[in-house]
């Protein structure tokens, strides 16, 4: 007992010192601090950082060119891991490690590209619906529902197949990564609906709050209110959705690639699975490595989203 009281006494001056040094904290800063203390969030951040690092420094890390099939001659196709080929070679004698490394930038471009489109469309559409309300809201939200119920994969596969046969013998054929670009745009276009719903809900919640009315009283313009007051307050929940969506978009692209509809010129993890699943029993490393890469990346973004959600919506439970 006496120990604890002396301990308290020694703590108190420190507390006072802390208070004196008190630095003002905005909600952003507080959120960041909470995020740094959340274990899941930090694990997610580490995983995502790992993927980003691999994507950026890949060309320096990869032992072989992604299109180098020379291993066909020496260890041969489906060779098990060795010092030269740390993850073995696959059915077509590509170096698995190099292919997985070169798959990282593709995955990130798909994730970020698709979610940028989805976030932009979603925020604009949801923002208009939430702020205007009334009939505009009703019409926009029915359109959003329509986009939510469309079987996305069927549409994407159909469009990719149609487009790739349509561009033959046209100037469009020469556009690099046209197929991949199409996939990114389509994932984006079909991914905005949940973001629009979230944005609408946040705008509805915020637009009638008293501090918005206070801004209106002062004479703030609609633009001020939307972009300086409402949007920054809606941003935390939107960032969480976007982080979650990046993982989702990467997974979607992997699925499209696995079904054989990916961009033949791009190196993508889903496509590696598609090329190698038939030899799963003979050369499991060729399928497991890209599978693990997809797993780590998607897990990373989901954990990151989880951590952000805990950090910025601390009252939302658990």
């Amino acid at each position: 007992m006496s120990d604890s009281s002396s301990l308290n006494a020694s703590v108190l001056p420190d507390d006072a010192a802390v208070l004196a040094r008190h630095k003002p904290k905005g909600i952003w800063r507080q959120g960041c601090e909470r995020f740094l203390h959340s274990r899941t969030g930090m694990l997610g951040l580490v995983l995502v950082a790992l993927v980003v690092a691999v994507a950026v420094f890949g060309p320096f890390l990869a032992p072989f060119d992604p299109h180098d099939q020379s291993a066909m001659l020496d260890p041969g196709a489906k060779a098990p891991p060795s010092w030269v080929h740390p993850l073995g070679t696959d059915r077509m004698a590509y170096d698995v490690a190099s292919r997985v490394i070169y798959g990282a930038p593709t995955a990130l471009i798909v994730g970020l590209g698709a979610m940028s489109i989805a976030a932009f469309v979603g925020v604009v559409v949801g923002g208009i619906a939430g702020y205007r309300g009334g009939l505009t809201d009703e019409i926009i939200m029915r359109a959003t529902d329509f986009f939510l119920v469309i079987p996305v994969f069927v549409v994407i596969l159909a469009v990719v197949r149609l487009l790739s046969s349509m561009v033959v013998n046209t100037p469009l054929e020469s556009i690099p990564y046209l197929n991949l670009g199409t996939i990114i745009v389509l994932i984006g276009i079909f991914g905005w609906a949940p973001i629009a719903r979230m944005t609408r809900a946040e705008f509805l919640r915020l637009k009638n709050q008293e501090f918005i009315e206070a801004a209106r009283c002062i004479g703030a313009t609609t633009g001020d209110i939307l972009f300086r007051h409402i949007l920054p307050n809606a941003l935390p929940s939107l960032i969480v959705m976007v982080a979650l969506g990046i993982g989702g978009a990467i997974l979607s692209e992997a699925m499209i690639g696995f079904l054989g509809f990916g961009d033949p010129k791009a190196v993508s993890w889903g496509q590696l699975l598609f090329f190698n699943y038939e030899s799963l029993k003979v050369a499991p490393w060729a399928s497991l490595a890209p599978g693990a890469a997809i797993f780590v990346t998607v897990l990373g973004f989901n954990l990151l989203a989880d951590g952000l959600s805990d950090a910025f919506n601390p009252r939302s439970g658990r």
Binding site: E210, A214, G219
Partner: protein, 337 residues
């Protein structure tokens, strides 16, 4: 700047509200579209005026339309009908169809202090950002002088300049309300509309905020439209008071006259409900019978006749007009006390 004028009758009023009404449609969603099945008259034919340097209080129980009245003056709700004039300028028309500069000019004259300081400050903005906003919108001086102005504003409301970089959640309710008042003062208005500025605060800090409002009035010659259900603060702050019941003003006049000798039975009941801080005294509040009728089923005739102890048959059929009973005292009652 005009000198604060205490003798109200002598000068032209700053703000004049004439026959202000606000009604909301009651809708029922039908098969295809919403059907309007009736209207709620939140505010009905309200008229009053506020003179330079004076405080007019509006009192009444919850839902009597006092807040709606206050909000329609700054166009936070658009009035259904009626006229609002600020020194001869048509306020309703300026906000509805006038240019932005005209509207801003009006906003520089009238500002609003909100009821709940926990909701009326943007949680993501520091105090500096909150106070900079009106300076930016109204282009008050060079941007380089804004920090000085912010410091000055904070000092005005009794906060140290070091608070400028803190965020609303770090403050107590009273401090937040001071920030809200500072924001309203940033454009140097002549009329502050205070919508229950102390009702969400602890009793211990209420007095501080009320004193601050009184000091600001003395120093700056402000006029207040003070909305409250707290009769003690009304008597402290104001010279004239309007009593509202179910969207109409039932009695308006000099605060001492009304508090000492209420003529309307509703005012009398309201005043008898003031708690007396004397534990030996047995509560004698007569109060009023029953609940206030819902605004959707506003009674015909005098709105108060369903609860009035002195209702006459005529009260049931005929709405009493607000007519002068004494100089500077108006009353809407068929059978006054």
């Amino acid at each position: 700047m005009l000198e604060p004028v205490r003798s109200a009758a002598a000068s032209d009023p700053l703000l004049t509200v004439r026959n202000l009404s606000k009604s909301y449609p009651v809708t029922r969603s039908g098969l295809l579209r919403k059907k309007i099945v009736g209207t709620i008259d939140a505010v009905k034919e309200v008229s009053f005026s506020v003179h330079a340097g004076e405080t007019l209080s509006i009192v009444g129980e919850s839902g009597c339309g006092k807040t709606t009245t206050a909000r329609s003056i700054l166009n936070l709700v658009a009035p259904t009908s009626g006229e609002i004039q600020y020194q001869g300028r048509d306020v309703v028309k300026t906000f509805a169809t006038g240019g932005r500069e005209d509207a801003l000019a009006l906003r520089r004259q009238m500002q609003y202090v909100f009821q709940d300081p926990y909701l009326s400050l943007n949680p993501r903005w520091s105090v500096r950002q909150i106070l900079r906003e009106p300076l930016r919108i109204h282009r008050r001086g060079e941007p380089a002088t804004w920090d000085d102005q912010i410091e000055h504003l904070l000092a005005r409301v009794g906060l140290p300049a070091s608070y400028a970089d803190r965020y609303p959640h770090e403050f107590s309710g009273g401090q937040r309300q001071r920030i809200g008042i500072a924001r309203a003062l940033a454009v140097e208005p002549r009329l502050l509309i205070c919508d229950e500025p102390v009702s969400s605060l602890d009793v211990s800090v209420r007095a501080q905020i009320l004193n601050l409002l009184a000091d600001l009035q003395d120093d700056l010659g402000l006029s207040y439209l003070y909305i409250s259900h707290d009769l003690g603060s009304v008597r402290f702050l104001s010279r004239r008071v309007a009593v509202m019941y179910l969207g109409t003003i039932v009695e308006i006049g000099d605060v001492d006259a009304i508090f000492d000798r209420p003529r309307h039975h509703y005012t009398a009941a309201l005043l008898s409900a003031i708690p007396v801080p004397d534990p030996t005294r047995v509560a004698t509040a007569k109060g009023v019978r029953g609940e206030a009728p819902s605004v959707t089923e506003r009674p015909r005739g005098c709105p108060f006749h369903t609860r009035c102890p002195a209702a006459l048959p005529v009260c049931r059929d005929e709405m009493p007009a607000l007519v002068p009973s004494d100089p500077d005292h108006k009353l809407a009652c068929h059978n006054p006390r």
